[in-house]
Symmetry: C2
Subunit: 102 residues, 2 copies
């Protein structure tokens, strides 16, 4: 299922990844965030290659049980591009909405 990864103290959303049952069990048991790669069909533990480890502080399931919120302490960059988060590079043009319109 879809896992939203958030820095536990600043509350930045760092990235989105995927977890199967095995990745979730490993994440809960070890304190290190572990994901499932749908393209490679294998588990990967964040930071094993890059050193950019995610130390797990809290994991929550959503109301319908198909998404996870994983709160971590991110060492270094979350994104493989070297950006702090995977959402830093591409803001989209948006009409900003406001309660005043209601």
């Amino acid at each position: 299922m879809c896992a939203v990864v958030q820095q536990h103290d600043t509350r930045e959303v760092l990235m989105v990844a995927w977890m199967d049952d095995e990745a979730l069990a490993s994440t809960l048991a070890t304190g290190r965030a572990t994901y499932y790669s749908r393209s490679r069909r294998s588990l990967w533990r964040k930071g094993d290659t890059s050193g950019h480890v995610q130390w797990v502080k809290r994991v929550s399931l959503d109301c319908d049980g198909d998404a996870l919120l994983v709160e971590v302490d991110q060492v270094g960059a979350a994104c493989h591009t070297g950006d702090r988060t995977c959402f830093d590079a591409s803001p989209l043009p948006v009409r900003v909405g406001s309660r005043a319109e209601a």
Copy 2:
């Protein structure tokens, strides 16, 4: 694609939903968060039934173009259960990790 919805000021992660191209275009153009229901195969604009509107402040695409971060001003509860967020009810038992272990 997967859309992570975050309260723009407190940075709470409110929910995860899905957007297709039409839902994204509507969200960007109107300032109201609009999603695609995979079960009902139709668009839904958050708050039309519940009143719990999401006013859109910022939308960002992730590094590999398959996830969105939608920063909103959430009116009332994000979750259909009445909870503020969809992640409030179900924290999982986790071994907490720490940099001190590295």
